[in-house]
């Protein structure tokens, strides 16, 4: 098995097993699982940039495929991969998909009414005055399964990737400017607080007798009422964080060191190659079987 994807950033010296160097402290039982210790699942140990690259390549392949069956097979494989290699539960994998399942209805309706093949294709069935054609259903099915596949790829990626490891990896492997990278991470850190503030502001204004009227006309005034306090708070908080970062010499020197450095190991390259090979095998195999169709003939 490949070792952990992180190691000391010392230029020489062997990779030290961090879990051995820092045994989990007694108090960690009180908190959530520790970060910084070797991630457990195979997918979580992969270098985030390489993993991201794999996701992007598969997603790119999907955009050239125009049939519902090929993305369905890839969906299934992604699902199995998340289950077996990512150590994710069925619930964790499928639960966030419900929005995208609902989006299928919108895609279907859009195709029934607006697909440009509708005018020239024979009707499969009429629902009242609405004509439903084969190409409309085909396109709707394809787009829907493709969307689900994109979504699942993202879910598997997000749930097996520590944000901080991704940021570090983008700095180390993609040479992203570290100032930009840390700025992004601080922004990410603030999102939950932003959500909490939104809830508080809603409650705070409701007790002032602000009706929660949902009409379209009230949308503007409601948005403005929530946005101004939310932004005022966020801007102030961001300013404070910026000062706190500056106070600790962030960006004062042209470069910085890293306590842990993300590295790309042979096993990461192997993972990428396997992902590409499996995707290619599925597409080529189904194409031979006459199932896969492409957007560009």
């Amino acid at each position: 098995m490949p070792g952990p994807a992180t190691e000391r950033s010392a230029t020489d010296g062997p990779a030290t097993d961090r879990s051995a160097a820092h045994p989990p402290p007694a108090c960690s039982a009180a908190g959530p699982p520790a970060r910084g210790i070797t991630p457990q699942s195979h997918l979580a140990r992969r270098n985030p940039t390489i993993k991201l690259l794999a996701v992007i390549l598969i997603a790119l392949a999907l955009t050239f495929i125009f049939d519902p069956f090929t993305p369905a097979v890839l969906f299934l494989l992604t699902f199995l991969c998340g289950l077996l290699l990512g150590g994710l539960s069925v619930r964790a994998l499928l639960r966030p998909l419900w929005v995208f399942v609902l989006a299928g209805v919108a895609i279907l309706l859009a195709n029934i009414f607006f697909n440009k093949e509708n005018a020239v294709s024979p009707a499969l069935v009429y629902i009242g005055p609405v004509k439903i054609t084969g190409p409309a259903l085909w396109a709707a099915g394809t787009l829907w399964v493709r969307l689900l596949c994109f979504a699942l790829l993202s879910i598997v990626f997000v749930k097996t990737t520590e944000p901080q490891r991704l940021i570090l990896s983008l700095v180390h492997q993609v040479r992203l400017n570290y100032r930009v990278a840390y700025g992004t991470m601080v922004g990410y850190r603030m999102l939950p607080a932003f959500q909490r503030d939104y809830q508080t502001i809603r409650a705070a204004q409701r007790v002032r007798g602000v009706g929660e009227r949902t009409g379209f006309l009230h949308l503007w005034s409601r948005m403005r009422r929530y946005t101004i306090p939310l932004l005022a708070g966020a801007v102030r908080k961001a300013g404070r964080t910026a000062v706190a970062m500056d106070a600790r010499a962030f960006g004062a020197l042209p470069n910085r060191t890293y306590r842990e450095r993300m590295v790309v190991r042979p096993s990461d390259w192997l993972f990428l190659a396997a992902a590409v090979a499996v995707t290619a095998a599925v597409v080529v195999g189904l194409w031979y079987a006459g199932i896969t169709r492409f957007t560009i003939e």
């Binding site: 908190g31 991470m185 607080a193 007798g209 306090p229 404070r240 500056d246 106070a247 010499a249 306590r259």
Partner: protein, 573 residues
């Protein structure tokens, strides 16, 4: 470092770290020297190693996600080699007493732990000067005491100089070497010895709105009525000793204690009708642990109830349930004897006001007058005062005058000062004519003058029959203003009764994550020292008990029996 809101305290701390003038724009003249470095001529990364800054909001000063990364952050910026950083993390964590917290996510820490991590992150960079900008503002009383104990240890080891901006002076005053006070506009008001600051020059400081240590307030008040308190005591122990050495004072207190509650307030509230009540209220957030368990409390008309407890004890949940922000279970919350579950949010919020911690969250209008107008008629709040009746417009003007905001009627509420924002948000509640008001930490970040003005508003509201419940971490405020106190601990009501009764039980106070206010500790020290009665927690209570020394002749005739007096009092409390 002391001064009212907006007097430039934080600005001065930024100068110590070189953020001013290097990174924050503005006109900068004069010279700042920190640890031998001229700030204007030294690069920020050198200054960052000499002066470390800890800020008020623990969440806004973190740059990473875990404890170890947070401590490493500054060292990485200074290009320390990784091996050194690993050792420095462990060292810094042991300094702040957080061994074993290394891999924890910052989001899972309590407020007190977060501030200690922030301190460790700064200490790891090896500064000789530590600058703390209201580090306890977001902490509960117990976490505050722990943080101050830690700071005191750091100050004692002789390696660090500390600069602290703080409103809560009571915990700090006995180990502060010198005091710097700024006046509005950033002018120097005072610089020198703390005893001089709070005795000789105290008028200048309190006129400017600076919080004073309670001990000095007590000594000044006793002197004013004629007691001859010796010296200039600051700490609890010195104050107790000085009071014990005041001719005649101990005899008087012992005598009053023996007579019973010579200073106890008669509580006429039992005659008034119950206004707001919870009965066996329990609440659990969806998917969460119980936030409140079996809380029963009744407020009578005109009551002032304080709600205290450690962070996360369920105070805000209780407030949310009573005000309809959260829906309580049926038959648990009653307003004038009616179950609130049957009432609409609108109807309930017309009766019970809820002032949130952050005034900005409740602003709904573009102008100050619009905020008040909105409460009278939402349409007028949106479209301008033209939609108000003449009577309503007079009411708005009347409130603006009372708030001192008439000049700023057309200003944006976000542009007001902290104190003005707070008073406006309270006024926007009161103008609707609600009969009960719940306030969540109303004095947070307010200086003494602002807090006093806010409390005056509350007393006026109560005089008109209004009922007040106030969540607060400020135990001094609780003792001075609240009639009754509800203490929550992990969602349970562990105490309901007079504030004096609670603070006479130090074990319960500690177990609830709270702290006895300074005068309570002076009282306890005197009790141990001279057998004077317990239960004196405010300047007012001391004055009532002590009376004036002119009446001393009659008091001297009574035999002094300290222990007996104290036990007689215990029964009374």
């Amino acid at each position: 470092m002391l001064g009212p809101s907006g007097s430039g305290k934080s600005t001065l701390t930024l100068c110590l770290d070189g953020l001013i003038p290097h990174l924050i724009e503005g006109d900068y003249t004069g010279e700042v020297v920190v640890a031998g470095l001229v700030v204007g001529d030294s690069p920020v990364h050198l200054l960052a190693q000499e002066a470390g800054l800890v800020f008020q909001d623990p969440d806004a000063q973190f740059c990473t996600l875990t404890v170890e990364d947070e401590i490493a952050f500054g060292l990485e910026n200074l290009r320390h080699p990784p091996e050194e950083i690993e050792a420095a993390i462990d060292r810094a964590l042991s300094w702040v007493g957080l061994e074993g917290y290394r891999p924890r996510h910052l989001a899972t820490l309590s407020g007190g732990e977060k501030q200690r991590v922030a301190l460790a992150a700064v200490l790891a960079m090896g500064p000789r000067v530590l600058v703390l900008d209201e580090p306890s503002a977001n902490l509960d009383p117990k976490a505050t005491s722990e943080l101050f104990r830690l700071l005191r240890r750091l100050a004692r080891d002789g390696r660090h100089s500390l600069v602290i901006i703080e409103h809560k002076l009571d915990e700090l005053i006995d180990w502060v070497d010198s005091v710097l006070a700024l006046a509005p506009g950033g002018r120097l008001l005072f610089r020198g010895d703390p005893a001089q600051a709070f005795y000789d020059d105290v008028d200048r400081l309190s006129d400017a709105g600076v919080w004073r240590p309670q001990t000095t307030e007590l000594v000044a008040a006793l002197r004013e009525v004629g007691w001859d308190v010796p010296g200039s005591p600051l700490s609890i122990e010195d104050t107790a000793a000085a009071l014990a050495g005041t001719p005649g004072l101990m005899d008087r207190l012992r005598q009053v204690g023996q007579q019973g509650s010579g200073w106890g307030q008669a509580s006429p509230s039992e005659q008034r009708e119950i206004h707001l009540e919870t009965q066996g209220l329990s609440f659990r957030y969806p998917g969460g642990h119980p936030a409140l368990t079996d809380v029963s409390v009744a407020l009578r008309r005109g009551d002032f109830l304080a709600i205290a407890g450690a962070n996360g004890a369920g105070k805000s949940t209780l407030a949310s349930l009573v005000t309809g922000v959260l829906e309580p279970p049926p038959a648990t919350v009653f307003l004038d004897g009616r179950d609130v579950v049957g009432m609409s949010t609108q109807a309930l919020s017309g009766q019970v006001g809820y002032v949130f911690q952050n005034p900005e969250h409740q602003f709904v209008s573009n102008t100050v007058s619009g905020e008040l107008a909105f409460s009278l008629s939402p349409k007028a709040g949106r479209k301008g005062a033209g939609h108000l009746t003449t009577q309503q417009r007079e009411l708005v003007d009347d409130w603006l005058t009372r708030l001192g905001l008439l000049r700023l009627a057309e200003a944006n509420p976000f542009s007001l000062s902290q104190g003005q924002k707070r008073r406006l948000s309270v006024a926007a509640m009161l103008i609707r004519g609600q009969s009960a008001l719940i306030l969540d930490e109303p004095t947070l970040g307010q200086d003494e003058l602002q807090a006093a003005r806010l409390m005056a508003m509350m007393q006026q509201f109560r005089a008109g029959g209004g009922t007040v419940a106030m969540i607060s971490h400020d135990m001094r405020l609780v003792c001075e203003y609240a009639e009754s106190l509800l203490v929550l601990s992990q969602g349970r009501a562990v105490y309901l009764g007079s504030p004096d009764g609670f603070f006479s039980q130090p074990e319960l106070v500690g177990a609830s994550g709270l702290a006895v206010p300074a005068l309570g500790r002076v009282c306890a020290a005197l009790h141990a020292l001279a057998g004077t009665p317990e239960g004196l927690h405010t300047v007012e209570a001391f004055l009532r008990a002590a009376g004036t020394p002119a009446a001393r002749t009659s008091a001297a005739a009574a035999p002094a029996a300290g222990a007996a007096g104290a036990s007689a009092l215990d029964g009374d409390v």
